[in-house]
């Protein structure tokens, strides 16, 4: 049983939880994730570990409500417990002294970017952060990232927080202006990671992406998380979740993600009906 110590709604349908899990907190390295199961009948869902508090033995998750399990998770409160939490899982991000690193976070993908950005900063790199969201509200962790970034660029669909457009726009501009970029990390919706990778490929800029495939066990046992990287089948939970963006078959992952779409839609219709009725 894992206690929810602190709950915050940080944007519409985006939540931040601090959970008591000292052993996981101590073992954790940036880039790793956990899998949780709310109760006996719950699904196992993967979420990035966004932050830790070693003094109190806490870990932090940030998630958006997209389906049944994340909805059920969002209905829990401070003082409630989560039945199972397993982690840290996956390979930690490999961070070196790159020079100038640009991190690109989209929507709830900003959450996984944050711990890696901190680590990039700690290793003495110059950090530019490009954050994007549909609305201003959905650009989470703005103040946290502002503190550690040399430069922070925010883009939204409506332009409410600076630039209007997509995260690839400012990145493209920087490249065209001749800004030297040594490393790019992009996390967010698959279309975004795919677009960033296509852009940097042309300029040969090393680009890592963090894949959020479907998962069951998270330990390499089921193969549900498989994806094609460099023409080979890889398991996102053990070989990743980060991969070289220039080698990932994004199309395939996007297709696999729609697998249980029908069942999820059914659930949301039920929720709506309950609310109306």
């Amino acid at each position: 049983m894992f206690l929810i110590v602190k709950k915050e709604q940080i944007a519409q349908s985006n939540y931040s939880y601090w959970i008591k899990a000292p052993d996981i907190a101590f073992a954790y390295k940036a880039g790793q994730f956990l899998i949780l199961r709310i109760n006996e009948k719950g699904e196992r869902i993967p979420l990035t570990i966004v932050d830790t508090d070693l003094r109190d033995g806490l870990i932090r998750i940030i998630f958006s409500v997209v389906g049944k399990s994340s909805y059920n998770l969002s209905m829990l409160n401070e003082g409630d417990t989560i039945l199972d939490v397993v982690g840290p899982l996956g390979m930690p991000t490999h961070i070196e002294q790159f020079g100038h690193a640009v991190i690109v976070g989209g929507g709830v993908g900003i959450a996984p970017v944050y711990p890696i950005a901190k680590e990039i900063k700690n290793k003495g790199n110059v950090l530019t952060s490009i954050l994007g969201g549909r609305t201003k509200e959905l650009v989470i962790l703005r103040s946290e990232l502002k503190k550690i970034s040399e430069k922070l660029i925010i883009v939204t669909d409506d332009g409410a927080l600076g630039e209007k457009g997509l995260v690839t726009d400012p990145l493209n501009k920087m490249i065209e202006q001749g800004v030297k970029i040594d490393f790019v990390l992009a996390v967010g919706p698959l279309v975004m990671m795919s677009a960033v990778s296509e852009l940097t490929r042309k300029y040969g800029i090393k680009t890592m992406v963090s894949l959020n495939t479907m998962m069951v066990d998270g330990t390499g046992m089921c193969g549900c998380c498989r994806c094609t990287v460099d023409g080979k089948t890889r398991f996102a939970c053990v070989h990743g979740p980060e991969f070289d963006g220039h080698k990932v078959d994004f199309k395939e992952i996007m297709q696999r993600q729609k697998m249980f779409y029908k069942q999820e839609a059914k659930f949301f219709n039920q929720v709506k009906e309950q609310k109306n009725g």
């Binding site: 052993d23 996981i24 073992a27 790793q32 199961r37 009948k41 719950g42 699904e43 196992r44 049944k68 399990s69 059920n72 039945l83 199972d84 939490v85 397993v86 982690g87 840290p88 899982l89 069951v216 066990d217 998270g218 330990t219 390499g220 046992m221 089921c222 193969g223 549900c224 498989r226 994806c227 094609t228 089948t233 053990v238 395939e252 297709q255 696999r256 729609k258 697998m259 249980f260 069942q263």
Partner: protein
């Protein structure tokens, strides 16, 4: 003599028409009357060949004699001297290749049904004897860590605990049992039976920590050097699914057998649990082992119109247990032999809708002694499907090796250990599928028990 002896007792089973719609157990177990008749068939051989066929050398004539005397509890205890989980092994051991294969009666008539009797004794005790009081244990305070709560880990934990060690099992999943829990379906091995065995271990004081992936939350070296464990037994199994690496294998609704069975057995996707599973109207299962048979029969219970089982050799070469092949056929699984998939195709939503196959013929026997299948040119044909389950085997998981760089591996990535379970790394022992590659439940348990002896010797300085 021979014609006076009764015929081998038949296992009572639920009829296929009834059982193929649910996950309740198919075999019902011998009645006490049947068990007594069956036990009488045993000659209690002086040099019992059957025992030599059992990987853990259960005293077969010994326990059968006790059944003849109606001492069922004592019979179960006799089995447990060598095999901790008779209720499990009586159900899932490939007896026809082990104990029963070597029974002297197998030559002229039918072998004694050792497995049925083993199951009978174990079930009788579980159902009729309420308090199995834990044996008194003399504590020695020495801490041992076990990685993985499958049959190898559980057996090792039990043996060490009875010797007085303080045993902690670390299990990656949220539930114990390994393949017994996530792989073998409930219609073959009801989950209460596994839970019951685990509860017994907990009752005698074995600590179990679920949701702990060793290599991630703690490494083997940390267990030994920082957490005060004097030895570690690695029993992490061989659960890394293999794929054929053919086009279309990553299409939607193409599952690995492990994913498919885990969603069903561990996550109870067929009940009102939140994990989805969908098979559509036509399912193809690829493979010919126990896993393929379990996947096919589990798929059938999700209610499709048809389940195909596609195997590249013929029925004779199938590695699955005979009993399971019979069960699958009786339930209506359509076997397609001498056939191998070459690619999958899909509809516009990338959901699989076709498996394209080649017909095969059998050549001369290969190293494994089985005849090697070769494709017949121009024999390509299609089967329309809505889902596929790939059950072509597993290999070793990289998590522990990667986090323990000085642990030697063989060329297939399995951990190197001698016949006592000792690895070249000091204080580290290993056994079960992670050493042998995919094998059997009883072999894994045997390895766990042997390793317990070996760890005890290592720590007490005995030769």
């Amino acid at each position: 003599m021979a014609n006076k002896r009764s015929l081998r007792q038949k296992m009572p089973e639920r009829p296929p028409e009834e059982r193929k719609y649910d996950f309740n157990e198919v075999s019902k177990g011998l009645t006490p009357e049947q068990a007594l008749i069956e036990a009488e068939r045993c000659l209690e051989c002086k040099k019992p060949k059957c025992v030599a066929g059992c990987p853990v050398q259960v005293d077969i004539p010994g326990f059968i004699r006790l059944i003849k005397q109606k001492k069922f509890t004592e019979a179960a205890d006799k089995i447990k001297e060598n095999n901790f989980f008779p209720a499990v092994c009586g159900r899932v051991c490939p007896q026809e290749n082990q104990c029963e294969k070597h029974c002297v009666l197998a030559i002229k008539e039918q072998s004694v049904a050792v497995g049925y009797l083993e199951r009978f004794a174990a079930d009788y005790v579980r159902d009729n004897i309420k308090n199995d009081i834990p044996a008194e244990i003399k504590e020695n305070g020495i801490k041992i860590a076990i990685v993985g709560a499958g049959p190898a880990g559980l057996a090792c934990a039990g043996a060490l605990r009875l010797k007085g060690y303080r045993v902690t099992i670390y299990e990656a999943l949220h539930k114990t049992g390994g393949v017994l829990t996530y792989g073998i379906p409930a219609f073959r091995l009801p989950k209460e039976i596994v839970d019951n065995e685990v509860a017994y271990l907990q009752k005698i004081g074995v600590h179990i920590k679920c949701n702990w992936v060793i290599g991630k939350i703690k490494t083997i070296d940390q267990l030994l050097n920082k957490e005060g464990f004097k030895a570690v037994f690695i029993a992490s199994g061989a659960g890394f699914p293999s794929f054929m690496e053919i086009p279309g294998e990553n299409l939607n609704f193409v599952y690995s057998a492990n994913e498919f069975l885990t969603r069903i057995n561990l996550m109870k996707a067929y009940a009102d649990y939140d994990t989805p599973i969908e098979v559509g109207k036509r399912v193809a299962v690829i493979g010919g082992g126990n896993t393929a048979m379990d996947a096919a029969r589990a798929a059938l219970r999700l209610g499709p119109d048809v389940v195909y089982l596609i195997y590249r050799r013929s029925k004779k070469e199938m590695p699955a247990r005979l009993e399971e092949i019979h069960h699958a056929q009786a339930e209506g699984i359509k076997f397609i032999f001498l056939t191998s998939p070459v690619r999958y195709e899909s509809d516009e939503h990338h959901n699989v809708n076709k498996v394209v196959c080649l017909k095969m013929k059998l050549n001369e026997p290969d190293e494994s002694g089985r005849r090697r299948p070769v494709p017949i040119k121009g024999s390509e044909f299609e089967i329309e499907i809505d889902s596929a389950v790939v059950a072509i085997g597993t290999h070793s998981n990289p998590i522990i090796p990667e986090s323990t760089p000085d642990l030697p591996l063989n060329k297939w990535g399995y951990i190197v250990a001698d016949e006592t379970g000792k690895t070249p790394k000091d204080g580290v022992f290993a056994g079960g599928d992670i050493v042998s590659g995919a094998a059997t439940v009883i072999e894994a348990m045997g390895a766990g028990k042997t390793a317990a002896e070996s760890i005890h010797k290592y720590l007490t300085g005995q030769k």
